[in-house]
Amino acid sequence: MKFQTKAPETIDFENEGLMVGLEFHQQLYAPYNEQHSRPLEREHGSKLFCPCPAMIREDDHDFTVERELRAVSGETGEIDIAAHFEKTKKQKIFYQGNFDTTCLVELDEEPIFPINPTALFRAIAIARKLFNLEIFDEILVCRKTIIDGSNTSGFQRTAQIAYGGAESYILVNDKKIGIYQANIEEDSAKNVGKDEKGRYFRLDRLGIPLIEIATHPDMRTPQEVYDTALRIGTLLRTTGFVKRGLGTIRQDINVSVKRGTRIEIKGVQNLDILPTYVKNEAIRQLRMIEFLDILKERGLTKRSVNSIKPVDVTKIFANCKAKFIAKALKQKKKVIGARLPKLNGLLVYELQPNYRVGTELSEIAKVTSSAGGILHSDELPKFGITQEEKDEVSKTLNLKDNDGFMLVVGSEEVGYNSINNIRNTFKIWLDSEPIPYEVRSPRPDGTTGFLRPLPGQARMYPETDSPPIEISSDYLAQIDEIHFEMPEERLERYIKKLKLPEDIAKQLYNHPDNTLFEEIISNFKIKPTLVATTILQDIVDLRRKGMDVSKITDALLKTIFQLISEEKLTSASIVPILQSVCESNETMTPQQAVEKFSIKPIPKEEIESVVEEIISQNIQLVKEKRMGAMGLIMGRTMAKFGGKADGKVVSGIVRQKLSQY
């Protein structure tokens, strides 16, 4: 069978029957108790099952808790395969928390509080009013077993609040995209790394309320997926009920092509790459089918897969020139190898653009066995490993014609586990018709890597610490009183009422910072255009100059516009302040930053003396033109102050001086 090593850049989506559904997760902003909440809870909202502030922290943690999770038996009395799979990783988990934003609930040390009433109300309002979903009369919180460490309890609390009917859809480019479900659930703890001791998670994100909106697989092209996600995000933002900023939105994408199967890509945060993931996954499914066909044609059988066994080949590398191997051997690590039957030349077969079978095996070794990665025969000799060493490994592992091999550098345990898990992967591949169900994780380059097998059904059971929640008709009547401004209404208001230029209004109404704009113009008496251009142009310009605009916080922008509205600051200061903040390495409060970087009014006397000086330098011209020299004198004066003088003050002085001639 002939094959191309390189994957195609694109495919015919219509012909291949691409179908995509989205599960859109958005963090909710919801103080647990709207009347009596602490300032941090008011600012960030609360968690779903305790009042702790839903605040993502950048600072250091105060404490670390060490835990272990065990696979538990599921409904059938058997250990769920995905859960068991996590367990084979067998590692300690370290949770990092802060005293003022983490309580015993996140630490799995006390039962939950009743569900955050604000979050529930807001989620139901969104489901009912934006997506026309039917709300259940009784909502039951469930535990979804997850033992990858991202939940201290070993499960995620989640409740389905609504279900779709014939009228539950949104319009995207005039096409109906059906919505079939809305859930409210806890966000997970953020994985912040691993080392030989275990995996590390931060507790600040754990428990933040999320609303999940699930669409039918109605999207047919990558662009349509992008447009749908953008539309859902815009709809959610107009409510003012959701949190903003990087990491507050995550999407799971379900992708299938006619000849393939349903694959879930979990946790895509960046909307811009969304279409690339869809495209690459469609390609991967087709390439995987071809790859497995080649393997079968070459005669790979379960028996030959069973012969994939770890062999210690450390000796061969005793005098290896490759630095990473020499270093590892010094630390008493090993080089463990295995023969990969029939894989010669196929390890560089691309499953996605720039993503080879070797990359996939490497990803599998990483997630299943905490290996740093693998080396394989198709890429050697390279990295300082010689042809002689490669030949020696081939000899030791008894390679025949079509065989390849892989190497893992690491502890003996990591090496053996990696190879055993890769053997299991090949078994699953051979068993799957046409390709295995799995969950994949997005990589920054638009490809996806192996994450875990798709969980079975036996992973949900009732949360006994939460009573059933009855949704009464009075409650729904309260929700029906809410009016959400639809994005189109908002655009019209921007143009007609706020008098924003049309191009700016069109950019702004579905911009991620739209709610910040709304907040500023409703709180402060300020020209909307000024706020809009700051958000849409000034900050973008700074970013294009390569500045770290993440340092421009909402609080800073609010402070600036408040001071301008109180006439304590001029708009000329906006850009200099923002630019200086981006460049500065100091940590400052917004007040300190404004104080330090704003343009100080230049004393009138100083301006007067400069104007006089410039007039005397151009005395001939002034005498000739009198007021006609206004532009020139004005321009030179401003240039002299490097633009930092207040133009109004300068022009007043220039006019007054010129009138004397």
Binding site: S168, M460, P468
Partner: protein, 457 residues
């Protein structure tokens, strides 16, 4: 803590139950429910005690449970597909030979509970083996000579009759040659049971390790796993012969603390490390790898030839009273009238009761009521609600007055342990001098002879 289904449908309104019966619908049947605008499908679940009796609860194929209010407007049909209530196969016990032989006694509690994944109810495991499903590694280290489910009780329901039963089983297992005993117990009252066993079975040949769980066994974060493994290792390998409680030392899943049975107390409603050794040094610590470090040099080593001394006599006519501002001393007479023979007072500070209130509030003084109680041959023992520290009869005038009235100051015995000890002493003697002598003498570690600096917090 545990629920049982009174009937198949649970808490549904009678109108709904009638409808189900008429349609031949049973719990577990897959139903299609058509509401005005949409369709929901799922297996019928029983309604729980806290749920809305008028909402039909379904478990959908996606795993979510949801409720829809029943009305005649909605159309319900069954498809014929059904869901069997789960049956938990007990873990196969692959016991290896030539490992230390220990015994397991199960009494119930969170550690022996499991969730019914279908209904969400928490049930006591019918067989203790079910708990082992998540701890297969246990069988590489110990062999269970016997696994005995004594009862399936939440610990708040356990009383002296159960203590007697457990004590008899402990003595029996040792007589039959076990090398250590693990007792699974609910955590709320575990400290009382460990104290009771300490008095009821003495002269042990090997350790008895009591343990429990603060999280249920259905979750990945089940703390009872480490507790149970550690307790089994203590029973099999630790070189002492006392009743001990083995539970998490801290919030980390690494070490467990081995606390003396008479000086251990549940100090937190929910944390893993709720159990603390009070006012004394723990027997030892056991790491997650099973390394046991004994922290004291006064422990009685294993004595394989020792024959346990069983004495389960117990008089339940004892009471524990807490002093608080405004506490009414008439409660003493109320107890005495009910036949109570001994009362432990959890006094304030060094062992106070309100004694010298202002002239016009003399009815608040406990002094005269205490005197009257003692005249009626009722034992009054004094402990402190400070929990940590020793009582003292002489430091203040009020203490001396109580002491002269005949109150017995019980050194640094925990109030709960004092109550249990008093019932056991009264079960063995009615002689007041003997009672006082036994109550003030350390028998099984319940009273320390010197207050250890390291024994606080």
């Amino acid at each position: 803590m545990t629920t049982t289904l009174k009937n198949e449908f649970g808490n549904y309104a009678s109108e709904i139950v009638e409808f189900f019966l008429k349609q031949g619908i049973a719990v577990g049947d897959f139903l299609v429910v058509e509401t005005k605008n949409a369709i929901v499908k799922g297996h019928l679940l029983p309604q729980t005690e806290m749920g809305n009796p008028n909402a039909i609860v379904l478990k959908q194929k996606n795993g979510y449970n949801v409720g829809i209010t029943y009305s005649t407007d909605i159309k319900i049909t069954k498809t014929g597909e059904s869901f069997q209530l789960e049956k938990f196969p007990a873990a196969k016990l692959d016991q290896q030979k030539n490992l230390p032989n220990i015994s397991l006694l199960a009494t119930g509690g969170t550690i022996a509970s499991r969730i019914d994944y279908f209904t969400g109810g928490v049930y006591m495991a019918s067989k203790p083996e079910e708990v082992f499903a998540s701890l297969p590694e246990l069988f590489d280290e110990v062999e269970f000579k016997t696994i005995t489910p004594l009862f399936q009780m939440a610990s708040e329901d356990i009383g002296y009759k159960q203590w007697q039963h457990i004590a008899e089983e402990v003595a029996k297992e040792f007589e039959e040659g076990t090398q250590g005993i693990v007792i699974m117990h609910g955590t709320d009252m575990m400290g009382y049971t460990s104290a009771a066993l300490s008095f009821m079975v003495q002269n042990l040949p090997a350790p008895v390790a009591m343990t429990g769980g603060q999280r249920s066994s259905d979750r990945g974060s089940f703390d009872g796993a480490l507790n149970l493994i550690s307790a089994a290792r203590v029973a099999a390998n630790a070189n002492f012969s006392h009743i001990a409680v083995v539970m998490h030392e801290s919030t980390h899943d690494n070490n467990c603390l081995i606390s003396p049975g008479t000086r251990v107390r549940k100090m937190h409603t929910s944390r893993r490390d709720a159990f603390k050794t009070i006012g004394d040094i723990p027997y030892g610590r056991i790491s997650e790898l099973g390394e046991i470090t004994l922290l004291r040099d006064d422990l009685r080593p294993r004595q394989p030839k020792a024959e346990p001394v069983l004495n389960t006599k117990y008089d339940p006519k004892v009471a524990l009273i807490k002093i608080y501002p405004g506490s009414d001393p008439d409660i003493l007479q109320w107890y005495i009238d009910k036949g109570t023979k001994g009362i432990i007072i959890e006094g304030t500070g060094l062992g106070h009761t309100p004694t010298f209130p202002p002239e016009d509030e003399q009815n608040r003084s406990w002094l005269e009521p205490i005197k009257r109680a003692i005249e009626q041959e009722v034992f009054i023992g004094m402990t402190s609600q400070c929990i940590y520290g020793r009582t003292h009869p002489f430091v203040y005038r009020a203490l001396r007055a109580n002491y002269r009235a005949g109150v017995t100051y019980l050194e640094d015995m925990l109030a709960e342990t004092a109550l249990v000890k008093l019932g056991w002493v009264l079960g063995n003697t009615q002689n007041m001098n003997e009672i006082k002598e036994k109550m003030t003498r350390n028998l099984v570690g319940e009273i320390t002879t010197r207050t250890n600096y390291g024994g606080y917090m």
